[in-house]
């Protein structure tokens, strides 16, 4: 039953992204709340459903966005993969891992979107894309990372209570 918590959380994240976060622009870029949420969720101990969350979030964001859903699904799965790898490498500093995944994940999802749009014939100058969209987006996502990590950590403790006796 704890898996069912995914749907309200994902739907809420996508609604907040579309209604609020995408209106808070820096230059022309804005944050990616669902991606930051996924990164934070995948970095939590005991969480074993992050892959499912990634696919479900990717499909839902793709449903709202004009970019094909497969781009988001693939991008978010890769973000979860990065988070899993980094969790094993830098397990003693979760916030450092969170910042790293947020930074790399933002660049990855943005580059994937940019590449697919170019394939579909949408000419976006690379200089504008990096200077006005991707870098401001990275900064805003890093600002989102700390509060989102705290919320997702509490959610993970509630949904996956630790079996260890302290």
């Amino acid at each position: 039953m704890r898996n069912l918590i995914a749907f309200p959380v994902i739907v809420l994240a996508v609604i907040l992204q579309s209604a609020v976060v995408s209106r808070l622009t820096l230059l022309s870029g804005f944050g990616d709340l669902p991606m930051v949420m996924l990164a934070a969720w995948a970095l939590q101990d005991n969480v074993d459903s992050a892959w499912h969350w990634a696919v479900a979030t990717g499909i839902l964001v793709g449903f709202v966005s004009g970019i094909p859903w497969a781009v988001y699904a693939l991008g978010y799965v890769l973000v979860v993969a990065m988070a899993k790898v980094l969790r094993m490498r830098v397990w003693q500093a979760p916030l450092l891992a969170m910042f790293s995944v947020t930074f790399l994940g933002t660049v990855l999802v943005s580059v994937l979107s940019l590449a697919v749009l170019r394939v579909f014939g949408v000419a976006i100058p690379l200089q504008d894309a990096f200077g006005l969209l991707i870098l401001p987006g990275v900064l805003l996502n890093l600002l989102l990372a700390i509060p989102v990590y705290a919320v997702m950590r509490d959610l993970a403790h509630w949904a996956y209570p630790s079996l260890e006796v302290e």
Partner: protein
């Protein structure tokens, strides 16, 4: 190991079943049963959007500092409920003003039939310029219908579900609108960009373009009705070695403050893609 596998399969099945039900509901297949669900989702998004816009207006709209301070001092005595009421009333006044302007606009163009819709969101990707509106196929909205405000052209409907639709703005990098210059009687193509600037392209070198010229839709290609106001020329670039001139256009619509739009529901766009070799 077996437990882990069965748990993964169980999780996958749960996600597939719930995801499938949500997709069918959003597509309008469970029309009566899903109305409650989709309505509540759209209403939830509308609630977030309207509260955010109200707060944004409250903090960013230009005001008289002195009266604001005075009002602020008075409001300190008020309870939180009253403050919420003030914000709500301000939003209602703004909406009424917008609706009055839209009614005037629709009266001035009786040949078109309009359906008003509230903007409830934007595209999650910064690379695209789309908005989400709270009217869908249940309200007669179809793909390709033009979207306007009382100021001018906004874009056209790109995708529709039962209770919402996605609108591609004219500032989108993939958007192209056939337009004409009112004074020069020259035609061109208006193209968007990631920065939100719109550029007029394909204007013949011998055409005379003046700064301030009004740009209107030409109706060519059947994608938009003719004579909708798009913007004004603010800058012209003419180079001898180019085949065409370029001009930067200032759209008449403020796309950052879109709250209510009108969909022209009696316009049937022409799909000319089969004719393109």
């Amino acid at each position: 190991m077996r437990n882990q596998l069965s748990r993964t399969i169980q999780t996958t099945i749960i996600f597939l079943v719930v995801g499938g039900v949500m997709a069918l509901a959003l597509g309008g297949y469970f029309s009566s049963a899903s109305n409650l669900f989709t309505d509540s989702l759209v209403n939830l998004q509308f609630w977030f959007s309207s509260r955010f816009v109200a707060l944004q207006d409250f903090f960013t709209a230009p005001r008289d500092i002195t009266s604001l301070r005075q009002q602020n001092a008075e409001l300190q005595a008020e309870v939180a409920e009253l403050q919420a009421q003030v914000i709500q009333l301000q939003q209602q006044v703004g909406e009424t003003q917008i609706l009055a302007a839209l009614v005037d606009f629709s009266r001035a163009r009786p040949e078109n039939t309009y359906k008003a819709a509230a903007v409830i969101g934007r595209d999650p990707s910064p690379f695209l310029h789309y908005i989400i509106i709270n009217r869908g196929s249940n309200d007669g909205i179809l793909r390709g219908m033009p979207v306007v405000t009382n100021q001018g052209l906004v874009g056209r409907v790109d995708a529709v579900i039962a209770d919402a639709a996605r609108v591609q703005l004219i500032t989108d990098p993939a958007s192209m609108v056939n337009v004409r210059l009112q004074n020069a009687e020259e035609e061109g193509a208006l193209v968007g960009s990631v920065t939100g600037d719109v550029v007029l392209q394909m204007i013949p070198q011998d055409a005379t373009i003046e700064i301030g010229d009004l740009v209107l839709t030409s109706g060519l290609g059947g994608g938009y009705p003719p004579d909708l106001i798009v913007g004004q020329v603010v800058n012209v670039r003419t180079r001898d070695f180019d085949l065409f001139q370029q001009a930067t256009v200032q759209p008449v619509v403020d796309f950052n403050r879109l709250q209510i739009v009108l969909v022209i529901v009696n316009f049937k766009p022409v799909d000319i893609s089969p004719l393109i070799p």
